[in-house]
């Protein structure tokens, strides 16, 4: 088990290194960072001055070294310093960490809403396979995978905020303002978890030990509750973990629709303001969380299922 965890950690570190490399190269993708950062009407002298000030005139490997380990006042990204925001003139990392709680709350609530719908619906459609319950939930899951979540968000605003006036269109302060963004953000995860719950449960219920239990006279409720569900839990737990990772970094558009003050909205604002230190810090930090959640899921999976070999 320890070797398994160490190997997972090593792999995660490599992934994070790749992410940091991409984040570093971001500004160099057009060939010249000044293209991206300076206004078009800047003179040659201004560009040269800017490049010198930012260190863009140095060889690229020196820039990369400085980016990782810092130089002069900058501590380097390995110590969490992505430089100051061009726009707000405060450390970029601080701006991002301020927004993390909102994103995490939205992702967790969206996942909880999804689970409350998806788990019972998945179980019911497996148990009542090929009845109207099953057909109805498969229509729901098909819809969930076809409706773009941000459009659903807009429609929810029109219905519940503009027409019925029950819920606020945006904001963060009241508890009820999370209802609409969570519903919209959780849509896709709900559909996927529902499908997974159903197909895993069907697979387990076709196995011998379930038949054995049935033939021993165990009641159907107990067969499903005790024997089948326990064994269906592992893949479902895995996909729940993966969906959480996806939600943490994937609610960008929903945050914009509902003016939800999370990292995604910050990134869109910063891109529009050409504020790249903030964008770099946000992509790096969210990757860090995303990789962390994935690693935790892997370990949890290995721990839940004794058949997984750790070697």
């Amino acid at each position: 088990m320890r070797a398994f965890i160490i190997r997972g950690l090593m792999q995660s570190l490599i992934v994070l290194w790749v992410v940091l490399l991409i984040v570093f190269l971001m500004l160099h993708m057009t060939g010249d960072p000044a293209d991206v950062l300076m206004p078009e009407e800047a003179t040659m002298e201004e560009v040269a001055e800017f490049n010198k000030e930012m260190g863009f005139d140095k060889p690229i490997y020196v820039q990369y070294f400085n980016f990782l380990f810092g130089h002069e006042k900058n501590l380097g990204v390995l110590r969490g310093d992505f430089g100051d925001s061009y726009y707000h003139n405060v450390p970029a990392m601080g701006l991002v960490t301020e927004r993390i709680p909102a994103t995490v709350i939205l992702a967790v609530v969206a996942l909880l809403v999804g689970l409350v719908i998806a788990i019972p619906a998945g179980i019911l459609s497996a148990v009542f396979r090929k009845t109207w319950i099953d057909h109805f939930s498969s229509v729901l899951s098909m819809a969930g995978q076809s409706i773009p979540n941000f459009w659903l968000g807009l429609m929810l605003i029109i219905l519940f905020s503009e027409i019925l006036g029950w819920l606020p269109t945006s904001g963060y302060r009241e508890a009820k303002s999370i209802v609409l963004p969570a519903l919209a953000a959780g849509l896709y995860a709900t559909a996927r978890i529902m499908r997974m719950m159903r197909s895993t449960l069907l697979e387990v219920m076709a196995q011998d030990f379930v038949n054995t239990a049935r033939s021993k006279g165990v009641s159907e409720a107990l067969v499903i509750g005790r024997h089948a569900l326990k064994n269906a839990a592992i893949p479902v737990v895995t996909i729940i973990g993966l969906e959480l990772g996806g939600l943490l970094s994937g609610t960008v558009v929903i945050e914009v629709v509902f003016a939800w003050p999370g990292v995604g909205w910050l990134v869109v604002e910063s891109i529009n303001a050409n504020d790249y230190p903030v964008v770099q810090a946000a992509v790096a930090l969210l990757s860090f969380m995303f990789v962390g959640v994935n690693l935790a899921v892997d370990i949890l999976y290995a721990w839940l299922d004794p058949r997984i070999s750790y070697s």
């Binding site: 098909m142 076809s146 459009w151 429609m155 029109i158 503009e162 960008v252 990134v267 969210l286």
Partner: protein, 311 residues
Amino acid sequence: MATDNTINAGASSKIDQEMDDRGPSELQLAWRELLKRPPALFGVFVIITAILWALVPGLFSPHDPLLQDLERYLKPPGFVDAAGNTYWLGTDQLGRDIVSRIIWGSRVSLSVGFAAVFVSGSIGIGLGLIAGYFGGKVDAVISRIVDAVLAIPFVLLAISIIAILGASLQNIVLAIALRTWTVYTRVVRGEVFALKESDMVTAARASGCGTLRIMLIYLLPNAFSSCIVVATIYLGRMIIIESSFSFLGMGVPPPTPTWGGMLAEGRGFLDTAWWLTLFPGVALTVTVLGVNLLGDWLRDVLDPRMKRLDD
């Protein structure tokens, strides 16, 4: 890719000729199968309509999608102007006809969708063939790259890249393909692993076939049906991703009509003009739904292994 297609097309037309003497061709059989499944038939209808819209929008569009007229801004569906023109789905904040903009908007959605599928498919299938055929270290390296790419928060990275490189059709496709090739690599790698020890491949090798020939003529066609299924399922997702980029202002820039862009413009009028956001979203959802329904059917027909207990 192009050469494989011509090889396949050549081979299948020969088969078609032979089949004519023997009974219904595969295409005829597929059509009969399709008639048995109304949702998939609906999907085919939707996709053909959307493709026609995208190819010759001028034939279907009742008005000029770019023609502004502030005399008729924000008119509700069914509005008839002084000259007797009807605006079936109303007009937007600049007086442009919504029906026409939806029809022209299919261009961007479909071209990004198909191009992204083609680019990611080409890269992914190629790497999958290599990883599966050579195995060992080559496979290990490719598989680790796939793992790393999958662990990077995709949406954030993609919008940052588009923001830096500039929003053009080409860059959007590139940003999307950066991630989605991995799916094809995984599928093809698995198929090739299973096939490469088969008698067919051994016989081909014994009769002196080169590596490339074995890959293209023996392995690729056998992995192709899974790829078609994956491509169809991902086409829907690509279309949603493109629309969310357009919604965030990172898509093909205005005045080119895009469904996501129309939703972004309509967002400012949720309280007064619901038709601005309802109709483009319906077009988007119905298109994706059509693609998904067709994908579900293709999966059942072409790839029974992927079906498992899903139906």
